[in-house]
Symmetry: none
Subunit: 224 residues, 4 copies
DNA sequence: CATGAATGAGACTTCATTCAT
DNA sequence: TATGAATGAAGTCTCATTCAT
């Protein structure tokens, strides 16, 4: 079971005189691309090194094992993801529906529609083999994201805009379609498949917001 | 030609069992558990055999390769999943909201809450290394499921129950939270994590249906 | 490296009621065909059994191992090969050239042009892994054949027909082209090759006899 | 992902050698010896590596598979063999009998009496399991050799030295005794056998040339 | 710092042989 | 006798990791 999907070639135009400060990030970038592409087990250390333009030995100068490299990739790509969103919620003034729309669009543009989004697939696939990452991911991603969206919903409820709903579960429904779409984009999305189901990401985002915000909102008072 | 293998010990510790009919299912069960646990690549053929109580060689008596074993697992667990849903839709008489509720509950009880649900994680994670399976899974699972839910939504629209919405995208939002929950259950869900976000699957299902069905429904006519 | 050349299917028309006395020979025939085809190592015990129309276990009822089976095949096919030729030499009355012609044609028709001829290839290929067979083959095939042809040549020399020549070496030259042709027939001869060298076996035999008998003969006395 | 391999012992028993240039030839030599000894299928890759003083993995650094290793052995040992003969024929000035003598002696000294001579046995023995090699060997060895000797014979005929004979078949008789002797030397020749037929290779060569050149030559005109 | 040749544990798979029925 | 399911040693090949230069 070899990986068959071609990986984009490393940028050969990069200047030869690399500074050693840049190395770790170059290695992380190369590793991210390959882990997303082929998964952890199917990615060879040598490929990562090649893609980063260094030799196999050099990779081990910076990361003591493939496992540690993987963890570094995850941490570096997911570490600050949520913090930015939290700030936004604190100072937003408009309606909660607008806040959620804003939040989701930002998230999509700044992360979901970015190569880094593929990291989620890898994490989902491999956490069970990396128990340390599970705690990290929970602390750094899931809990903050849950709090972020839970807070939004609570805000909506408190302002009389939304019906009361269980916060965790509603937050789940809020994010899941987008995260799931990412997973699909980075797995099936990259395979050559005949007669596949095609969805338009932007339309998914809009439709989802449309559905779920409507579902959240309290019924408008009957028009008199 | 080679030095002959040393004579086998006269009394193998476990008596040979002869259950040709039961073997394939036992192997499939063992394989499902391990593939879900550790992923396809990280599962060793010998582990599968051991878990099924047979030797490595016996596994290959029934499945010619690890890949074929995996495909057999997928087929055996997902093969008839959708077909039943399609039937249900064909003969259902009530409102479309009720139909969707029924469909989702059935799906949850018959698949989502079952060990087989973990297959999704494995497929998402490793399908890129497994191009043949991508086509198979698209044909057998994704396309029929999309059609199934798309048809439900169309039924609702045609009967005046639902607002018109893009079918694929709405179907996506309909299924994604449940599938995503499955992915989480079978990845993070199995790790020991402190302070995790806990969601109640049943409550997720209910909340999701509550939100999304409300979002789908046409606004009730203003009271009088 | 699997064998690719198709093996002729076993004769399925054979009556189902085999007598156990026939078994050993049937197994030897099947084994001969397969060993010639694919060599010893590449022939699976199960194939031999299938071709003989019995199960794998039954093969081991008659021959305790694949090695023993192989030795039995060799012995059964080469055991009496030479004896017949020796008889012929004793009572022949004509010229030694005619005797050699007769001998070679007989050998060709009765052995060389027969499926059993393939056994030579297998022996050449495998003796080094079967030291016991080396002695057997020397005793039963090489030494008698050498004596047979050496005797012929000596007869020719003694009768003034042939020039004196080293007997072993001349006997070698006498047989080698035919044996070598057999080896080629059963190795390259069975492969699909483009632009191969084709030789006509009968023409090889005639040309060889023509050359070598002429070479053996004393120069005719200058015509006075 | 798996339990990490136990830490390698700090001082490997043999110091690492770094001789990248010498390795391929060392591996080819080791492989030649073992293939000739035990055949292709019965030779384990690890044995080849050990004999060359490297580890299993190193072998695969230089040759991607056992098959390719074998082909490299054949190429390295037979690749230029024929080409030299062809040259010789082109510029030879003496009688064709002398040319053939010269050719055969050269062949014997440069190949037949060399470890590489054993390759023929391996090819004959296993070519049926190795279809790609069959074509290669036909193209690179058999066809050129046939042409080489056929051309010699034609030269002799055209110059009035030899009788007309079918070219392929005469070429066969010309080479076969020597090739067959090689086969025997590398199979039976290496076994401990009592009372074997011993032939002196040089004497075989001389006797064969004596016989066959005499057979080829036109009868001298009767002395008047 | 950087290299890349070398290592060797371990994965998948095959198949000769056994043995309960 | 005959069967064929089961076994497990052994083979090819991969790749994470090391280390002399």
């Amino acid at each position: 079971m070899k990986a068959l999907a071609p990986v984009a070639p490393p940028q050969p135009s990069a200047p030869r005189q690399r500074r050693k400060e840049a190395r770790p990030q170059e290695l992380l970038d190369a590793a991210l691309a390959l882990f997303v592409d082929k998964g952890f087990a199917a990615t060879r250390a040598e490929e990562v090194a090649q893609r980063a333009g260094v030799s196999k030995g050099t990779l081990y100068l910076y990361y003591p094992s493939k496992e540690e490299l993987f963890k570094a990739v995850v941490r570096s790509n997911l570490g600050t993801l949520i913090a930015e969103g939290i700030e936004l919620v604190g100072c937003f003034e408009g309606s909660t529906s607008e806040l959620l729309r804003e939040l989701m669009h930002t998230w999509w543009n700044r992360f979901g529609n970015t190569p880094a989004a593929g990291i989620h697939k890898v994490v989902i696939a491999e956490v069970r083999n990396f128990p340390e990452l599970a705690q990290f991911y929970s602390d750094e991603v899931i809990v903050p994201a849950d709090r972020l969206f839970g807070n939004c919903i609570r805000r909506g409820v408190e302002r009389g805009e939304f019906r009361p709903l269980p916060l965790h579960e509603a937050a789940h429904t809020l994010m899941a379609p987008l995260l799931f779409m990412l997973l699909c984009r980075h797995s099936f999305g990259c395979c050559a498949i005949e007669g596949r189901v095609e969805v338009d990401p932007t339309l998914v985002l809009e439709t989802h917001l449309d559905l779920v915000l409507r579902g959240l909102e309290v019924r408008p008072p009957p028009a008199m």
